[in-house]
């Protein structure tokens, strides 16, 4: 029975169940916290009443509470949860394809593209789509950037990881110069642009929840389907190819899907760094590098982390600071720590 651990077996099952339980607890806990405290038992009652459609479960409660929970807090909380999960799995996939544990969902310039699109929309007051104009422009910016990066890197010798990373860096550098220019000419709108860029889950709606949920679910399905192929691609192009993987096709599908997941996350929340870099790293030391385990576990961990961070800034800190700033402030030093640890000792990273 020495071989037991080769099967993606029981252990991962326990981790997933455990993390799911923690996630549910954090969701209930965060929903209760805020300017108006809602007792946790009431949160559960309200959610259960809403799902089952039984209004009488709510009869004993203040009329205001269901509105706060369902219409104000849950959309924000669920968006943060889904975006956290989405950024984390997209990070796993980027690291896998680019064969680089330091890659993240923004490596290919997706964030710079989204930021540029959003800045354009804000600067020119484009609002023909109401509140969705900025997210839509951000998404379009991310998509166009991705296509351009793929076009740029496929010119010589296929989609090699070096070509992709280099193209991503070049394009992101051009775009961030563009963003600086837009900020410079923006006058009084510069504050709006800066605030958008730093990320926020404030005033999210159920539309945001369903949109991100659908996209991240589709992404997750595709990632799980190709998870084993992604393991083989870690062996390098030639070996993966000899093991039956159409490396070009699989990496293109995964790159586009991962970028789309990241793009949708960025467009509803602004740029939130370090989740997509840090979570896959941390989880890899627990589950090992097998993507069949790493992807689901990272998704749950990312969701828990980002929701907790958002709850801290929303309900615990005296005044709300942008979530993107918070994740970078916590994530950056933590990353330095694990990076240092990896250099000095034997760990699973």
């Amino acid at each position: 029975m020495k071989f037991k651990e080769i099967r993606p077996g029981k252990l991962v099952g326990t981790q997933i169940v455990l993390l799911s339980a923690v996630l549910c607890a954090v969701i209930v806990l965060s929903t209760g916290l805020g300017y108006i405290q809602v007792p946790f038992i009431d949160v559960i009652k309200i959610i259960a009443g809403k799902i089952s459609g039984q209004q009488r479960m709510l009869s004993s409660l203040d009329n205001l509470l269901p509105v706060i929970v369902i219409d104000v807090r849950l959309p924000r909380i669920l968006t943060a949860t889904i975006v956290g999960g989405g950024l984390a799995i997209s990070g796993v996939v980027f690291q896998g394809i680019l064969l680089n544990p330091l890659a993240d969902p923004y490596t290919l310039g997706v964030s710079a593209g989204a930021a540029f699109g959003a800045s354009l929309a804000i600067l020119f007051n484009i609002d023909f789509l109401g509140t969705y104009s900025v997210p839509l422009f951000a998404f379009a910016g991310a998509t166009v950037t991705l296509l351009f990066v793929i076009y740029l890197s496929s010119s010589g010798g296929g989609l090699s990881s070096n070509n992709l990373i280099l193209s991503g860096i070049i394009v992101a550098a051009i775009l961030s110069a563009g963003i600086s220019f837009l900020k410079y000419v923006a006058d009084e709108q510069v504050a709006v642009i800066i605030f958008w860029l730093m990320g926020s889950f404030g005033s999210r709606t159920w539309t945001d929840v369903s949109l991100t949920f659908i996209c991240v679910s589709i992404g997750l399905t595709i990632f799980i389907f190709f998870a084993r192929d992604l393991n083989l691609m870690a062996l390098g192009d030639r070996t993966a190819s000899s093991l039956g993987i159409d490396t070009k096709k699989v990496s293109l599908i995964l790159l586009v899907t991962a970028s789309m997941v990241a793009a949708i996350c960025v467009s509803v929340s602004g740029i939130i760094g370090f989740v997509g870099l840090l979570i896959p790293h941390m989880m890899r030391s627990i589950t090992g590098p097998d993507n069949r385990k790493l992807i689901p576990v990272s998704m749950l961990a990312g969701a828990i982390l980002l929701l907790s961070a958002d709850t801290v800034t929303r309900a615990i800190l005296p005044s709300e600071i942008p979530i993107g700033v918070l994740t970078a402030l916590i994530g950056g030093p933590f990353f330095c720590y694990i990076f240092r640890k990896r250099q000095t000792g034997r760990t699973g990273f």
Binding site: K2, F3, N231, L232, R238, S242, L243, R284, G288
Partner: protein, 257 residues
């Protein structure tokens, strides 16, 4: 025939790397490919495993054009041990060997007891059991190469292609692993096609030798016939003495300063 290769040509950009190459490779034989650096040996192997597509010419594998096989089909036919193996993620050595079984295991299934037994046997036979629980990222070059070799053996294919697979191994493991490859040829009728740097090891193990230079075949044939001073001189431009060595029970080559 395992491979019938006809008038094969391949360019990298404008550079012709394989130049109208034709050769037939029979099953159940150990082939050695020998040639100077940059003569197109690795490219030739990449064409044989369909990692690259020829610009012109045909490769027939088992009576069917190679381009008509799916990658999946080929992965149960041909295994490759690459030259430089570099990996960034800390899979255990055992996990890497098990990856050789993936082509035989449905996408969402766990390995069967049969798969596990094959992997177990190969790990023990190749001496990879000393490192099986360690991370591949922490192994020395030679240890890693042994694991990668075991991975290809676990794939259990009729054709095994070695791209300088033993160059980074010490002589003990080099001979050991080549013996496994040779055992597959003798006992299971497998075909081994090996690019080798060490002419004497090649002479020891290969039934046939193929000498390549500038993308074309300079000489090929049974090892005893084709291995001689003139061939080596024309391919490598080196003076040698080639003689039959009873201790090795094969021809051997010696060099001078």
């Amino acid at each position: 025939m395992a491979y019938q290769i006809n008038d094969l040509t391949f360019y990298y950009g404008n550079k012709k790397v394989i130049d109208h190459l034709s050769v037939t490779l029979a099953p159940g034989k150990f082939y050695g490919i020998i040639g100077p650096n940059g003569c197109g040996k690795s490219t030739f192997l990449d064409l044989l495993v369909k990692h690259l597509r020829p610009d012109s010419g045909t490769i027939i594998y088992k009576g069917k054009d190679l381009s008509r096989y799916s990658k999946k089909e080929l992965s149960t036919q041909i295994a490759l041990v690459p030259q430089n193996f570099y990996i960034n993620f800390p899979f255990s050595a055992k996990e890497i060997v098990m990856m050789g079984r993936y082509p035989h295991i449905p996408r969402f299934a766990a390995p069967s007891l049969h798969d596990i037994k094959i992997v177990r046997d190969i790990i023990e036979k190749t001496g990879a059991d000393q490192v099986e629980d360690r991370f591949i990222t922490e192994l020395s070059g030679g240890e890693r190469q042994r694991v990668v070799f075991a991975r290809a053996l676990a794939q259990d294919t009729p054709v095994l292609i070695l791209d300088e697979a033993t160059s980074s191994l010490d002589i003990n493991y080099g001979i050991n692993l080549l013996n496994f490859a040779a055992e597959g040829v003798r006992q299971a009728g497998k075909t081994v096609i090996a690019v080798m740097q060490d002419i004497n090891l090649a002479a020891l193990f290969c039934d046939y030798l193929i000498f390549m230079k500038e993308g074309a075949i300079k000489a090929h044939g049974a090892t005893d016939e084709v291995l001689n001073q003139n061939t080596i001189r024309s391919v490598f431009n080196v003076d040698t003495k080639v003689y039959f060595e009873p201790y090795a029970d094969s021809k051997q080559v010696v060099f001078k300063r």
